[in-house]
Subunit: 418 residues, 2 copies
DNA sequence: TGGATAAATTCATGCCGAGAACAAATCCGC
DNA sequence: GCGGATTTGTTCTCGGCATGAATTTATCCA
């Protein structure tokens, strides 16, 4: 097990190969130097992930470190320009007021890019979680040439990166979300059915752009990154765990466990669209995507092939009986698939995003019913069902956050202001 | 060179009184001491998990620690009686011969117990992985009173525990495997359908036995523990990851990721028997267990209800056409369920245990076909399919190993020979 | 205004891993 | 058979770093 120099990966590996977490991971503190790194990471993580700016004392309490130790760690982070003090806030109690600590905004940014069926775009997020800049172009990219589209993405993202650097923002890296199967590191895109892409060396193509060449993107599945953004918005009371469903033209998904995306060997986990829910369908075993994908719903609703989602949504909101029934049917299949997954991974919540999020009022009931009926542990612990709250283009945000997570995981790489 | 100037740690290293005061342990006594604990654990883990006895130098290489550091760690483990040196083995190369290190056999044991539909038993395994003692009783326990069965288990396991202690074996703890839904720690058994149990406070009942009362068992699902044993036999080239299927009367399963059992929130993961594979079945959505459980196969084979598995196996081995067809059909459903799970968790291998292991030659083909056809990433990375190799009653072994894992995880608790 | 309370800092202490030097034990070529 | 090469294991010094107590700072409250 040598060093593993690929730090573009999903974080440092422990002896188990699992992604390292912030606080409760004893497996990483192997050497003395790693001890320091680990504690720096824990302190920075407290500041970055907190919903309210923590004081040094709160960091000490959260990490279990001595207060004096935290003082030293925070000094380092402040000197590096990663963290800044706010003015002390008078508390409604006796004692010296705490000094709130926040990530320095606009200092370090992660850049998330996305190519999807209907749009492509780029979004930069700083350590404080704020959107620094974003560009999105709407277009129907089904069947478009992969090279052309990637060149177009370069033209969009290159100036954004250049602009960030010109403004003195350090770019921590980039990530690219794609609606298909991509290897977890930087391997080629295997297949993106709804784009019509197959075996595309995305990174090489983007490297043709001189600016992007300096920031080779981590590739990831669109649903996985969207789930990361969702996990970010739901942090707070501990790291959330849920099953995320991202309906687009296809049906994607991701598994979030304790705030971490579960990637699996290659990063191909969460393909809930390929869950087989009807094994005795006349044309052969049918997957969820075939029964509840956008095209299937439109067809069942009596809408012409190639109907845009907006039209379907309009029909449903107008309470067109066929459309409502079609959505309800799809929701039932979705519920069955989710119940299946829940039985296998024992997760406590389901989050519906993408088109299913937009159709939420019309799918929630059927999904709940299916879960209650088919999840074996439902009588003791019912699954929570909710709607995605990460906002528009969550995969772009998720990609940026994935990059920023590297900064938090290894703060020592960012201590020298370059 | 063990021994050395013994005068042993007559006093616990007189840490200047600090040791005594550290006992309170505020939530998490952190860092510095955890570093030592972690490295001790890593060293012991190397010795325990290795397939060939490692030398100090190999431990240093595997953990990344300095050789001198490893010397110190190993000294502690040897003094504690957890590890022992073997005679140096002349190597076919230059250099001082390495001193192989092995766990001391028969010194510390984990005890795994199991209650299943057809038998109950207990097995003790020591740190070296050897079976110290075991007792199994065959009986049909379907519908038997839970209290009676647990008393019987007490009568079986109590003397085993007493005997171990009489022989000077330190019992690290006990685990109990059950064919049902149990909370991951020691919560009550929620439901074990094939035993006909529901909401049984297993731990309390076992505590009625004075010997067992001192070793309250960790409860776990039978398939989960069987998978742990399977992972143990498959260690070697790194920690294995696979999807384990345990066919008994029902169909259970477990997810093994990097050598660890994936438990989920409550320990209810892996219930592959409740995967919905035929959502449009006439009587309502059908689970894998309903279509490929033992009773379903027997019925499809034209055998009377309540047929014993041995009779089914005999019919299949005799190439009874109905039986072969029934098994093949079940295998197809199994393959669909496994493909579904693989699409969601991106794992690279499938291991068939329990009855599916015994039927392996008759199910392998259909399972492979289904996986190839329905796993989205199969064209790039086909799933390996293999048969369980952990031997008889794997859940008992897995339970014992689960207990021993605690010893490896926190060696400091076992340093004082008590 | 002084005491209580809490946050943050300072500092002496000691644990622990790193790394180098050294000792031990073997193989190999001459 | 002898010396050098090689690898394992031990010893020892050094320095990093967390710790915990004492101290300082800053506010609230009676």
């Amino acid at each position: 097990m040598a060093a593993a120099p690929d730090d573009a990966d999903a974080g440092p590996r422990t002896r188990n190969g699992r992604a390292a977490e912030r606080v409760p991971d004893p497996a990483r503190a192997r050497r003395q130097e790693h001890l320091r790194e680990h504690n720096l990471s824990a302190a920075l993580g407290c500041v970055v992930d907190a919903t309210a700016p923590p004081s040094r004392a709160q960091i000490a309490a959260a990490t279990g470190l001595a207060r004096g130790t935290v003082t030293g760690l925070v000094d380092v982070l402040i000197d590096a320009g990663l963290v800044r003090e706010l003015d002390p806030v008078a508390a409604p109690r006796a004692g010296r007021p705490a000094v709130p600590l926040v990530p320095v905004p606009g200092r370090i940014a992660g850049v998330g890019m996305e190519v999807n069926v209907d749009y492509l775009g780029v979004r930069a997020v700083d350590l404080a979680g704020g959107v620094v800049v974003e560009r999105v172009e709407q277009d129907d990219l089904r069947g478009a040439d992969a090279g052309d589209v990637l060149d177009r993405l370069s033209a969009l993202a290159g100036p954004v990166l250049a602009g960030l650097q010109a403004d003195g923002v350090r770019v921590a890296g980039t990530a690219l979300a794609l609606p298909g199967l991509v290897d977890r590191v930087t391997g080629p895109l295997r297949v993106a059915p709804n784009l019509g892409w197959r075996d595309v060396d995305v990174v090489a193509r983007l490297a043709a752009d001189p600016v992007l060449a300096a920031f080779p993107p981590r590739l990831a599945n669109e649903a996985n990154l969207a789930a990361r953004a969702e996990a970010h918005t739901r942090r707070g009371a501990g790291a959330p765990s849920f099953l995320y469903v991202s309906g687009e033209v296809g049906v994607g998904g991701a598994l979030v466990l304790d705030g971490e995306i579960f990637l699996g060997r290659h990063g191909w986990s969460g393909e809930i669209g390929h869950v087989v829910v009807d094994g005795s369908a006349p044309e052969g075993p049918a997957t969820l995507e075939r029964l509840a994908g956008q095209d299937a719903i439109a067809a069942a609703a009596g809408l012409p092939a190639g109907t845009r989602f907006a039209d379907l949504l309009a029909a449903v909101d107008a309470e067109d009986p066929a459309a409502v029934a079609a959505v309800h049917d799809a929701a039932r299949w979705l519920g069955l698939a989710l119940a299946t997954v829940a039985n296998v991974v024992d997760v406590g919540a389901v989050v519906l995003g993408g088109t299913f999020g937009q159709l939420y009022p019309h799918v929630e009931g059927a999904v709940r019913d299916a879960l209650d009926a088919h999840v074996i542990f439902a009588p003791w612990s019912a699954l929570e069902v909710s709607r995605a709250r990460a906002g528009a283009y969550p995969a772009m945000t998720g990609g940026a956050l994935a990059v920023l997570r590297q900064v938090v995981a290894e703060p020592s790489l960012w201590l020298t202001p370059s």
